[in-house]
Structures are given as structure tokens and as C-alpha cells.
Amino acid sequence: MRFLHPTPGLSGIPQEDAEARSREILQRARIYGEDRTLTDQMMLTRLDSVVNWGRKNSLWPFIFGTACCAIEFMAVAASHFDISRFGAELIRWSPRQADMMIVGGTVSYKQAPILRRIYQQMADPKWVIAMGACAASGGFYDDYCTVQGVDKIIPVDLYIAGCPPRPEAILGAIRELQIRLERQPVRV
């Protein structure tokens, strides 16, 4: 019997109880003489765990790249840093097919309605990473044309510091998002 990423406390059942219950199921199976089949073929887990396991290892990013950060994201996607090691290499250019938006670069007031609309076009569940100083806070562009942080118009899950951030920081943010995803309830 194997447990796939047990996440204690999420569905209200403590981990010990969950293990006890699975032992009970196993016991029952033994009574009916089917233990070999069951232990070989069955895996007990929670819906949350298995769905999140799938989600976190196949994040489909949508790059809302507007400026310098987008060039640095190109480096993340390219051969040296290789974002596919983290299961997030399938970069989608349609918001309908993506679940992780990376806002890389300065967002101007002219761009703002478009960013908001694209965010709304993404299907749930979706996560947003604000990459770099401009996306996080407007950066050093405190002026008449720059939105002072994309969190003024869309919800942001993670901020990455830097102007632009190093590729490792972007990979770190994706790892951080994956860790958070493990603990997230599937039903909202």
C-alpha cells in the first residue's frame, strides 16, 4: 500500500486516521483473499493530493512579457536554464490554455486593460507571478505612464524581486508555487 503525497489535515481527516482507514481496507481485502491484487494495483490517496500532483508538475505558463524581463524569461526557457526540468516548459500563447501567468515587464496604463482582459480569459484555477520590479511595483518608473504594480489590476500570487530577476529566481518562484499548490484544496 502506498500513499501518494499525503496532505494531512486538508480534508479534515488527520494523517493517522487516514492510515488507520487504509489499514482497515487492507484487512477487509485480506478476508476476501484478494490482498495481492489489491496491494499491487490499488493506491489510496486523496483527491486533493492526486489532482495537485498533476497540476504542480504540469504548469502551463502564459508569458505576458512586455519588456526586459521577457528577454530574461527567454533565457529561462532556453537550453541552459531549461524550465522543462520543472514541468513548466509548455509555454502557451493563448490564455485559454494556460494556468500560470508570468507578468514579465513594465505594464503601462495603455497595456492595463489588455492585461486584465487576458487574465479574465484564463480558465480557473490560475496563478499569477509578477516577475521583476516593474510588474511588482512599477519599479523605478514612477511616472505618468506606468502602472505602479500589476496587483492594482489583477491578483498576484508571487512576486519576484530584481530588475530583471536572475533566471534562478524565476525557477525558484515556480518551485515555490509548486510547493504551495501541494497544499491547496481542489474544491474551491
Binding site: F64, A75, Y109, A112, P113, D143
Partner: protein, 581 residues
């Protein structure tokens, strides 16, 4: 005297031009102005502008066939100025290499100037920009509409009385149908009747739109009839920010103009400021700047060609080219402390001398470049799909290219053998042995191949510069411009005072104008700086090569397929940070 020192800075002075006949023809209404750091300048009355410019363009003696730039200065804070606005035209003659500046005072109450869009094709967008930023109107302009700021913007942000941090939200993006209407009216293309036309929005968030470029196209089948580009999605207020920062504090902002080759912008900017200050950087600094610039040029072309080939579906090239870029990143990071936005130069020198790893690591890069680039070239040079999609696609004639203000690889691809490094050499470029690749047809194929070849030529320049780079200081000794070393600051009162002075008061150039240009990866990167003697530039205008090139995009794309437009767009290498500033 001033002419002589200006010559020393650039190696060669801007070619002189005499306007004797024109002054005879126009009488008192056109007169000589003090030169702009070596560039001849004339003062013209506003009603005479159109005729004077036409004269300059068409007269056989001058042939100023390229409009380098048009900009405007708001003299609200200058009590001496006879009028509020000053419009500044910057011309360039490719046949004679001469340059000329025309200035004119425009009063606020009748802020109208004759449009010159019929003389120079790039004037259309330049005039729209001045209207957008300053509120000057151009008589006879076909489409006097905002270009960088959005349609609901109220006021003109580069006017001195517009507060820098006053942002204005936009409720909904422009549908651009009004501009399409204007195009329908001006040149109605034959309606083929049986097929239905369709308008299609490309961008600004589109895989091949490189982030922030938007085009509204009207299609007949898959053929583009009209193409309306909209820019300004990455307008970040470079010029307004420059007006509120000290001269050295502007350098990080220049990084983010063409962020694919940040150091070239740093060098272009400080070179203009140094020209204004009339200082010359030491020999070693010049060679370091040359090497850094050429490395950046290679990096820029790697991104341009890599991204362009991805757009054409050739993803493998991107892996090959970007792994080379990663190697150059490492060298730049070791020397400057940053991968992408280096901010390496300072007024009067560079941030720090290069370390002992510099030469061996750059020599290794010189070995790597041909290997990676040839790997990529082998994939495309005889590739049938690549040739079908690029040869003859988006061709532009040399004459049109000049009229649109093309510079850099795109101009050379159109068959014009023109490179600032050869024509008006700076930093010993005249002493290096290198060739300028020139195309024949001015199509997408030529633009890509010119960039590939330029990478090899940059390697030649770097190798020679490494051989000749002397020892010695990298910064000038003048304590008014360069921070003293730390031990001097902590141990002597003079050191501390000059440190304090420079940090608190900054570099203070004398009052005056300067225009200086360098050959950046995309073409002529020029800075027009107006100083009023204070620590901030009164006006800092950048002449971005992309802006002029992109204004020709409708001409290139119309009549072709949508897929061709994608190939053309990539080959122009439009960098939004530089386009929108």
C-alpha cells in the same frame, strides 16, 4: 577652438555644411545659430520651415535625404526664451555625410507647424509623437492622433507643467477603426467584390508580436490589404524621467531602451554627455567600450535572429543561438555585475576596470561565436522552407529605406553601404579592419543574413581591440566628473569634498545643446540633450532606430500574407523599450 576639441572626441568632426545660397534665397528669415557641439545649426521662422526643408532636400548641393529626428523643447522654465516651444529638426545627407540642425521658435498660442510628411516618410510618426507629448499641431498631417499615450489621456506629458507622476487610467483599448477609415479614404484598394474583407487584430499580446506590438490588419482572404500598427504599449516615460534625474542617474534608464544590448545604450548616452562636457575618456576606456559594445551587438543579433527564426518555426536555432548568448552573459556579468541591465558606463569612464579574466574569457567567446553561429547557419542557409519564406518577402528599396529613416542592419540590407562606425568613426573604429555587410534586395533574408555576418565582423573588431588595448586608467582624472577612489575619500579632505560634491550636486555641464550618435545594434542611436547648466538634463531626447524602422511596417506588410508579416516583423528587430521609450 570648440570645433577642434569636438573633433578630438569623435576622432572626426561632423562634416561642415555651408548654407550660403539658402540664406541668400530666404534672406533674414533664416540665420545661422550657434553650432550644436560641432553640428551646424540654423534658426528659421516657423512659416518658412516647409520651404526651407524642401530646399535642403531637393537642392543638389545639399541633398539632405534623411530626416534623422524631430524633437521639441518646452522652454517654460527658461525666462530668456522668445517663445514657449522650440522645434528642432535634425537632417542627414547620406551622399555627403553632412548633418544639419534647423531650429524654430513656436509660440504657445498658435502651436501649429506645417507637416513635412510628404517630404520624409518617417515624419508622419515623429510629428504625431510631438503632438502627443507637447501638443504642437501639424498642418496637413493625415492622422494627427496620439501615438505613445493612450486615447483617453488628457494633457501633454512632456510639457514642463505636467507633473511626472500623474498617471491616467485607460478604460478600454483603442479599436483603431478610425485610422483604418483614414486609410480607406486616402488610398482605397480595389474591392474585389466577391470576397468578404475581414479585420483581424494582431497583438499586443501575440506570440509573434514580441510583447507589445499591435497591428490591426484588414484582410482579403489571407492577404493583408491595410495594416495599422499601434505602438506605445511600453511607453515608460524615459524623457520625462531623464529630466528629473542627474546625468549619471539616467544611465540605468538607458539600459532599458534596447534591453537586448544594454551597454550600447549606456555608451551612446555617456558619449553624448561627454561631448557636451567637452571631455575625452582615456584610451583604455575607449577600447573597453568598443569590446563591450561589440559583444552586446553580437548578443543583440543573437536574440534578433533567434526570435525571428522561432517565429518562422525553426526552434532549434533558438537553442543554439541562446546558448551562445548565455556564454556572453557570463562574461558581462563577471565584469559589470549584471547579466542584462549592466549600467556599466559612467560620465567620464566606466564603472570599474575589467579584471584579469576578461581577456581569456573574451578570447574564448571569439572561438565560440563562429561555432554556434555556423551551427545555426547550417540549418537555415540552404533550407528550402526558410528560403521560401524569406527571399523577396518584405523587400524595401534603398530610396524608401532612406526616406523612412532606416539605419543599421536594415538599411544595409537594403543595399546602402552606410555605417556610423565607418562614416563618422568614434573610439578608433577607423583603425580597425572590418567589413560592412550589405544586402541586395532589402528583404527579410538579407536582413537576417546581414545580422549573421555582422556577428563575424564584430568578432574581428573585438580581436583587434583586445590586441591593442593599452594599460592605464579607465576614468578621467577630473574630480568634477568621476568619484575619487575610496581610500582618498577616507583619508583626505579634498577627496571627501569632491566625493560629496559629485554625489550631492552631480555632474553639471554648461548650458547648451548636443546631439551625438553611435551605431547601436539596430542603427543610429542618437541623444539630443539640452542642458540649462543644472544637474538634471533640461531635455534628453533619444533618437531610437526602431521607431523609424517600424513606421515602415505597413509598407512592408501590405500586399503580403499574414505569415509574411510575422517574418518581416521579426527581421526588423523591433525592441519595444527602444520603440516606445
Amino acid at each position: 577652438m570648440e570645433e577642434k576639441t569636438a573633433a578630438g572626441i569623435t576622432g572626426k568632426t561632423w562634416p561642415d555644411v555651408s548654407l550660403e545660397p539658402s540664406t541668400k534665397e530666404f534672406g533674414e528669415r533664416i540665420r545661422l545659430d550657434p553650432p550644436v557641439c560641432g553640428l551646424p545649426a540654423f534658426r528659421v521662422q516657423p512659416e518658412l520651415l516647409y520651404n526651407a526643408i524642401r530646399f535642403l532636400k531637393e537642392n543638389k548641393a545639399y541633398r539632405f535625404n534623411q530626416l534623422t529626428d524631430v524633437t521639441c523643447v518646452d522652454h517654460l522654465q527658461n525666462g530668456q526664451a522668445p517663445a514657449r516651444f522650440e522645434i528642432i529638426y535634425n537632417f542627414h545627407s547620406l551622399p555627403t555625410s553632412a548633418r544639419l540642425i534647423l531650429k524654430s521658435w513656436i509660440a504657445e498660442d498658435d502651436a501649429t507647424v506645417d507637416s513635412i510628411h510628404s517630404l520624409y516618410k518617417n515624419a508622419n510618426w515623429l510629428e504625431r509623437e510631438i503632438f502627443d507629448q507637447y501638443g504642437l499641431r501639424f498642418k496637413g498631417h493625415p492622422n494627427m492622433k496620439r501615438i505613445l499615450n493612450h486615447k483617453e489621456f488628457v494633457g501633454h506629458p512632456l510639457r514642463k507643467d505636467y507633473p511626472i507622476s500623474k498617471g491616467q487610467w485607460l478604460s478600454e483599448a483603442d479599436d483603431l477603426l478610425d485610422e483604418l477609415e483614414i486609410r480607406h479614404r486616402l488610398d482605397p484598394k480595389d474591392d474585389d467584390g466577391d470576397r468578404e474583407r475581414m479585420t483581424l487584430n494582431l497583438g499586443p499580446s501575440h506570440p509573434a508580436a514580441h510583447g507589445t506590438l499591435r497591428n490591426m490588419v484588414e484582410l482579403s482572404g489571407e492577404t493583408i490589404l491595410y495594416c495599422i500598427p499601434e505602438i506605445g504599449y511600453l511607453h515608460r516615460g524615459f524623457e520625462k524621467n531623464a529630466e528629473t534625474h542627474c546625468y549619471n542617474m539616467v544611465i540605468p534608464y538607458t539600459d532599458r531602451l534596447n534591453y537586448c544590448s544594454a551597454i550600447m545604450n549606456n555608451v551612446g548616452y555617456v558619449k553624448a554627455v561627454e561631448r557636451l562636457l567637452n571631455i575625452e575618456v582615456p584610451e583604455r576606456c575607449r577600447y573597453i567600450r568598443v569590446i563591450m559594445c561589440e559583444l552586446s551587438r553580437i548578443m543583440d543579433h543573437l536574440v534578433a535572429n533567434g526570435a525571428n527564426l522561432v517565429d518562422l518555426g525553426a526552434l532549434t536555432n533558438y537553442w543554439y543561438l541562446f546558448s551562445l548568448r548565455e556564454k556572453i552573459y557570463n562574461v558581462l556579468e563577471e565584469q559589470t555585475g549584471a547579466r542584462l541591465t549592466n549600467s556599466y558606463t559612467r560620465v567620464g569612464g566606466v564603472w570599474a576596470d575589467v579584471n584579469e579574466n576578461f581577456e581569456p574569457s573574451v578570447r574564448q567567446i571569439l572561438k565560440d561565436v563562429p561555432r554556434h553561429v555556423n551551427d545555426s547557419l547550417k540549418l537555415v542557409a540552404r533550407n528550402r522552407i526558410f528560403l521560401d519564406r524569406t527571399v523577396g518577402v518584405g523587400a524595401i528599396s534603398a530610396e524608401d529605406a532612406v526616406s523612412f529613416g532606416y539605419t543599421g542592419p536594415c538599411l544595409r540590407a537594403a543595399g546602402v553601404d552606410w555605417d556610423l562606425r565607418k562614416v563618422q568613426p568614434y573610439y578608433h573604429y577607423d583603425e580597425f579592419d572590418f567589413d560592412i555587410p550589405v544586402g541586395e534586395r532589402g528583404d527579410t533574408y538579407d536582413r537576417i543574413m546581414v545580422r549573421f555576418e555582422e556577428m563575424f565582423q564584430s568578432c574581428r573588431i573585438i580581436a583587434q581591440a583586445l590586441d591593442r588595448m593599452p594599460d592605464g586608467p579607465v576614468n578621467i582624472a577630473d574630480r568634477r566628473y568621476i568619484l575619487p577612489p575610496k581610500e582618498e575619500v577616507y583619508s583626505s579632505i579634498e577627496g571627501m569634498v569632491s566625493h560629496f560634491n559629485l554625489v550631492m550636486r552631480g555632474v553639471r555641464p554648461p548650458a547648451g545643446d548636443v546631439y551625438d550618435a553611435t551605431e547601436a545594434a539596430n542603427g543610429e542611436l542618437g541623444f539630443y540633450i539640452v542642458s540649462d547648466g543644472s544637474q538634471n538634463p533640461y531635455k534628453c531626447h533619444v533618437r531610437p532606430p526602431c521607431f523609424h524602422i517600424y513606421s515602415s511596417f505597413p509598407t512592408l506588410a501590405e500586399g503580403g500574407m499574414i505569415a509574411d508579416a510575422i517574418a518581416i516583423l521579426g527581421s526588423l528587430n523591433i525592441i519595444a523599450g527602444e520603440l516606445d521609450r
